[in-house]
Amino acid sequence: MFYREAGDFKTSYRDDNQTFPIRLDRAGYWIVLFVAFCVIPFFVNDYWVNSIFAPFFIYAIAALGLNILTGYAGQVSLGTGGFMAVGAYACYKLMVAFPDINIVFHVLIAGGITAAVGVAFGLPSLRIKGFYLAVATLAAQFFLVWLFNKVAWFYNYSASGQINAPERTVFGIIVTGPNTEAWAKYMICLVFLVGVAWVARNLTRGMTGRKWMGIRDMDIAAEIIGVNPLMAKMSAFAVSSFFVGIAGALFFAVYLGAAEAGESFGITKSFLVLFMVIIGGLGSIFGSFAGAAFMVLMPVLLKNVLVGTMGWPTEIAAELEFIIVGGLIVIFLILEPHGLAQLWRLTKEKLRLWPFPH
């Protein structure tokens, strides 16, 4: 009844182009931002940050990255874990080599390095498509993890083979290392997430996004109307890997604090992010958030319900968790193959008409 565009007249193309054309959506967006920045930081504790907010934010960044590549540009990638590892190890090397430079720059440069690696591994996409490209990116996944385990230079010859994040500050506030406060961890992840989402939205609504989607929907037609397929695909790989690299750097430096390539950035990570993108909705910014939230929150919720409320033994609950989450994914994909984003769109369309059926 209140959720509709009636009365919200657009008098310029700028108004017509805005991200949230409906007033209630715009209000909701600002409220969410306000709560995220000005309310939650005062109440978060270690449990909430470590089991919910930090993984959710970081996976959302990774999902945004993969969604640009797979959802918008149509290039399947199974190398997300490997690219996250590149971001993590690049960030580690930079943190150790240049301790005086702000960690924010380290994370951004780590993203840039990952972008370059992503472009290199994306080159086969000019010749191969679909499953075959997925296999080629799978090779990237295994090669990168192998490289970081094998070449000791990457982990500075530490005896354990692990990399450990040294303590670094932003504006005098500790954001990495064991002494980090919960709210600082929360804030740095949130700031990066908002920045990445904003850039992703800008790119996908403009000509770059149209080129990507053109390549995805019909590559021959796109080329004939003037899209340079090399530039379009490589820019998709670059931007996607940049985001994934940032996610990897934050995952290691802020969230984990210590990482080992095979364990933290294995093939399971690639699949996890791919599931997020598919469940959330391919080719949707909101879908990336929804997918990441679903995959991060579902296990936590189940654990709380099974162990906390129903009092089951932890180990049985842990096993059941896998079964239930897996089952939910299957059921969900059968019911709504276009993901949570499509579900959200349908809900909004219904809301626009409510309380009338048509």
């Binding site: 193309y13 850039v199 800008n202 403009g206 053109g214 929907d217 796109a222 080329e223 109307i225 397929p229």
Partner: protein, 274 residues
């Protein structure tokens, strides 16, 4: 009054000015392995004219269009565009030179809205780089709004305002054809290639499409080369017609000349072998 059609420019009976040659195809031969799809064909397209390419199925018309748009590379022959020989080019480079086309089987981007499809047609008019687009405010937004305005003109012209925000995948066939035309027109091409713009349409849709083609040519002065099977439409619309059969050119001239050409009649109606 007779018009000298070989002059540098002349005025047609309905008052349109036909300018110099835009596209000149010289002795084009295209082979796929042993199959000769196009055999030693030459013809030209002049500025401001509507040029039709006709012929029975399998005559090589679409292959010809693909040669012009740079999708196929002919083994022999030269393509001259605006007075200079065109080097080997990728299709997107040809598009940058000012060529736009539609496809026989609609090739729209199904996942995008009508507006986005048409905006994509203007990609050669927009040159904000990746960083400017990431920031959005500034050049990218300004460019987007300017080009949106140009697209809205095309949308008005082709009368598709009501489906502006509809995903293309949901549209019926006739409208998809029109959106595809809009996407090509949005590029403001100096040469527009239409591959069977009226295939599979009913009489009213054909009339609409004919009107759009004539208006486009008349109002924007767009040079159009089209392939079409509906002879009535072709003879009515076009200034000059090329007739192809089995990869060879069997006729070239005004609709009247072509209609009375014995080879053309034989190709279409068959010839008795006695």
């Amino acid at each position: 009054m007779t018009t000298d059609m070989n002059a540098d420019s002349y005025v047609t009976a309905d008052g349109r000015t036909i300018g110099p040659v835009v596209m000149d195809l010289k002795n084009i031969t295209l082979r796929f392995g042993g199959v000769v799809a196009i055999k030693d064909i030459s013809f030209n397209i002049r500025e401001g004219e509507i040029r039709a390419i006709i012929g029975p199925n399998g005559a090589g018309k679409s292959s010809m269009l693909n040669v012009i748009s740079g999708f196929y590379k002919p083994q022999e022959g030269e393509v001259w565009f605006r007075g200079s020989k065109r080097p080997q080019m990728r299709p997107y480079q040809v598009a940058q030179q000012g060529l736009a086309r539609t496809f026989q089987n609609i090739a729209l981007f199904d996942g995008m809205t009508v507006l986005d499809n048409i905006m994509t047609g203007r990609l050669n008019k927009m040159n904000a780089n990746l960083l400017q687009q990431a920031i959005w405010k500034g050049k990218a937004e300004k460019e987007e709004l300017e080009n949106r305005e140009a697209c809205e003109k095309v949308i008005d012209f082709l009368e598709i305002q009501h489906i502006r925000k509809t995903p293309v995948g949901r549209l019926p066939y006739g409208l998809k054809k029109r959106v595809e035309l809009a996407r090509a027109l949005a590029a403001e091409p100096s040469l527009l290639l239409l591959d069977e713009p009226m295939a599979g349409m009913n009489v009213e849709e054909k009339e609409d499409m004919s009107r759009f083609i004539l208006d486009m040519n008349d109002e924007f002065g767009t040079t159009i080369a089209l392939i079409e099977h509906d002879m009535g439409v072709v003879m009515d619309l076009s200034d000059r017609v090329v007739v192809m059969d089995y990869g060879k050119k069997i006729g070239d001239g005004t609709p009247d000349e072509v209609r009375n050409n014995q080879d053309v009649i034989d190709a279409y109606l068959g010839v008795s072998h006695d």
